[in-house]
Symmetry: C2
Subunit: 253 residues, 2 copies
Amino acid sequence: MLSKERLIEFSDDARKNYLDHISIDCVVFGFHGGQMKVLLLKTPDEEKWYLPGGFVLKQEPIDDAATRILQERTGLDKIFLQQFRVFGDPDRSKFHNDLYRDMLPAGENWFSGRFLSIGYYALVDFFDVNPQPDQFSELCAWRDLDDMPELQLDHELIFKSALDTLRLQLNYQPIGYNLMPKDFTMPELQKLYETILDKKLDRRNFQRRVLAFGILTRADKPRKGGAHKAPYLYSFDLENYTNALTEGFKGGW
Amino acid sequence: MLSKERLIEFSDDARKNYLDHISIDCVVFGFHGGQMKVLLLKTPDEEKWYLPGGFVLKQEPIDDAATRILQERTGLDKIFLQQFRVFGDPDRSKFHNDLYRDMLPAGENWFSGRFLSIGYYALVDFFDVNPQPDQFSELCAWRDLDDMPELQLDHELIFKSALDTLRLQLNYQPIGYNLMPKDFTMPELQKLYETILDKKLDRRNFQRRVLAFGILTRADKPRKGGAHKAPYLYSFDLENYTNALTEGFKGGW
């Protein structure tokens, strides 16, 4: 909890710099070798954890704001964030409004109002990044999806909604370019999908379907090594991959 | 263009009632028998057309605001609108800001600020609804997708983005419950998809794919009639249809 002096200072700064009533929250999923995590913050004096979030500068495009906020709060740089939904329940900030109500009259307290939050999400390799907590946070950490702490405000809803969006995305957009090595086997790619979906997939169906997307190139020769039956190696066809990001899959309609 | 008196009146009312900096724009697509249209408004003194839009009351949930705005501006009632994206370019309202700048100082003019617009879309049967222009509009009309007028502000971008979303949606969510008769043939359903996508689809692939979604029930007997080979009739399995709306298709991963 902020002291009254810091609250006044932050409130005055915020009123000068940020658009009223708008916040951004970022859900960053991390994948590596069959594990899936999400990036969360914790302040020193509250038990619950937060999604990294912040506000939009008065003349800042919202996508730029999302990137800046994630960088400032977690140290993560150059992350491609996708907008997925606005959270607009009138009482979603009630916990914080109540917390600071007695410290500063509503007219002086910029944070006392209603905030709509624009949700952004990303999927990164958690070995490639080094999260750093900001000045408000004691911890900035990857938490396992099957061992989630309690979340503040409506951040549980925002997190779940991002996960639903990511899982739906597997049906209509390519995924994995920043998560797989340059060359990979079909079982390695299948592991990525299984981890996101949290379920086993049929090997033949997976292969048939993912090949129909038209975003993979198969190497001429199987991977070298001692195995009796060496697996074929695949890589992403970047042109088709990029087209499918904007236009959906060839294997679509 | 508003008179100065009306601008002052609207500006004062708006400041009292609405959240600053937030607007909502609705893209309502209409389908009927192989035709696809979009619902637009036109004011008496501007050449360009608008998407129906408006503002969010200070304590109103945003989905409720979208429904109310659409009703007030077009007369369309009980339409299921889906949020799809926020449009947050800092200069997106520049045309209107400039238009009214000389009439009223920015401090007194609520409309002079930056607005983020939350886009909502819907797909309805255009024979089921009767659009009515509001007090600001001269026309409220269904316009053909292949004969679109010029649109004001960034409404062309919002419209195109809604159309992309609708087309992508065909890959991961069911569509058509409110557009098809209770019983329909496979070619009738295919026509809906072809109209939305604006392209011909292969008959066999369409049938195979749409059946794999698991949302259709086939009637025991073909449709009665004089035809040599009567087509089978299908209807939506509402339970599976509703599940697929939230969880994606069975035929997904």
